[in-house]
């Protein structure tokens, strides 16, 4: 299940930091950074030990070694998908306003929101890094569970037909109509409507992305990886938006939300239980079992609800 990329960490002079776990020191003692980077192969037993140590320490944060395992892949995937969904929603708002009222004030609103978000991240990031790794697991697990269950619940209701699917095209048209009807209010040389709508849209959706990245990344010390997932989502969504010059209505949003809901709920259960002292049989490998359990439960629930709806509709038609 596990493989390791040979990127080692040292303090730049070949020594490990005092607080470094043993895995951080591997391949770095007495070598220059360049030599450390060239040193890519290690005996399997040592690699396995390094992975175990890293996993136990959970200290694989920004600038630290990259350990590629199931958990890290799922964290990047989860952060990417969840961020992409939020960014698609922000993009719809920005496009709706920008197309109708012009781009200058809209893009200044986007930029201002990005600056506020960057300040928040800059303030929260180092603070999170100083928190002992075990502490946030319960809090983050509980938050992810509450938050993930919402996504999962809505996705199941949508897939079974009890809730209408989210339609980006419809949201885009609604945004356009509102933007066209809004009065022309100019403040500080800006079209105030465009600025505030773009600012609020990007800030609120961005706050959700920040929350997701922090929640996914902080509990296991993978903040850098989660941020990379979100950054990749930003690049993909912006490029897709520029190419399409319209709402990304062909994105299978409910399927993505279903997958993200499953990941959030599974990670939340895993970390929440660990946070209250549970020892999972098989350690991190059991995360796959938790995900499989929730996939089966969710699909069964969606199927049961679909059948119920069809039965009720047939009974209604017969009556």
């Amino acid at each position: 299940m596990l493989s390791r990329l040979g990127r080692s960490h040292d303090d730049g002079d070949g020594r490990c930091g005092e607080d470094a776990s043993r895995v951080r020191c591997l391949g770095s003692s007495g070598r220059t950074p360049g030599e450390s980077l060239r040193k890519k192969s290690r005996p399997p037993a040592r690699i396995a030990h390094a992975i175990k140590e890293s996993s136990d320490a959970g200290s694989d944060d920004l600038g630290e070694p990259v350990v590629v395992n199931t958990t890290t892949v799922l964290i990047v995937t989860g952060a990417f998908l969840a961020s992409a969904v939020e960014m698609v929603e922000a993009l719809t708002i920005v496009l709706g306003v920008g197309v109708v009222r012009g781009w200058r004030s809209t893009l200044i609103g986007v930029g201002a929101a990005m600056i506020v978000l960057a300040v928040l991240v800059a303030a929260l990031g180092p603070a999170l890094g100083s928190i002992p790794i075990g502490t946030p697991r319960l809090v983050v697990g509980a938050l992810l569970l509450a938050f993930g269950l919402q996504w999962l619940r809505k996705a199941i209701l949508r897939s079974s037909g009890y809730k209408p699917l989210h339609d980006e095209e419809e949201s885009f048209q609604a945004e356009r109509t509102q933007a066209a009807a809004a009065v022309d209010d100019r403040r500080a040389g800006l079209d105030w409507y465009s600025f505030t709508v773009a600012f609020k849209g990007v800030l609120l959706e961005g706050l959700e992305v920040v929350f997701i990245v922090i929640a996914f990344g902080s509990a296991q010390g993978h903040l850098g990886l989660a941020a990379a997932g979100a950054a990749a989502a930003l690049v993909v969504v912006v490029i897709a938006g520029v190419l399409a010059m319209g709402p990304l209505s062909r994105v299978p949003e409910n399927t993505i939300k279903f997958a993200v809901g499953l990941l959030l709920t599974s990670f939340g259960s895993f970390w929440g239980a660990e946070g209250v002292g549970v020892h999972w049989p098989g350690d991190e490998a059991s995360l796959l079992g938790v995900i499989a359990f929730f996939v089966v439960v969710s699909l069964l629930l969606a199927r049961a609800l679909r059948r119920k709806r069809v039965t009720l509709a047939a009974a209604g038609a017969a009556a």
Partner: protein
């Protein structure tokens, strides 16, 4: 004050959402898991099972309303 209230509402909607009972159920399940773990029972099975039940119950109520 209005901004603070909006900010609080945003986070409430974001984390708790449509059904506060789901968040409450999660809190109760975590509490029970903690109690059992402190009593020496490695209750790894309790949280996923409880979460599945909380989800099913929330869906049942949502469908019943619609």
């Amino acid at each position: 004050m209005r901004y603070l209230r909006s900010f609080g509402r945003f986070w409430w909607n974001f984390i708790v959402g449509d059904d506060w009972r789901v968040a409450a159920g999660v809190a109760v399940a975590l509490g029970l898991t903690a109690l059992l773990t402190r009593a020496g029972v490695n209750a790894w099975w309790l949280l996923p099972t409880s979460v599945a039940l909380v989800l099913a119950e929330s869906l049942r109520r949502a469908v019943g309303r619609s």
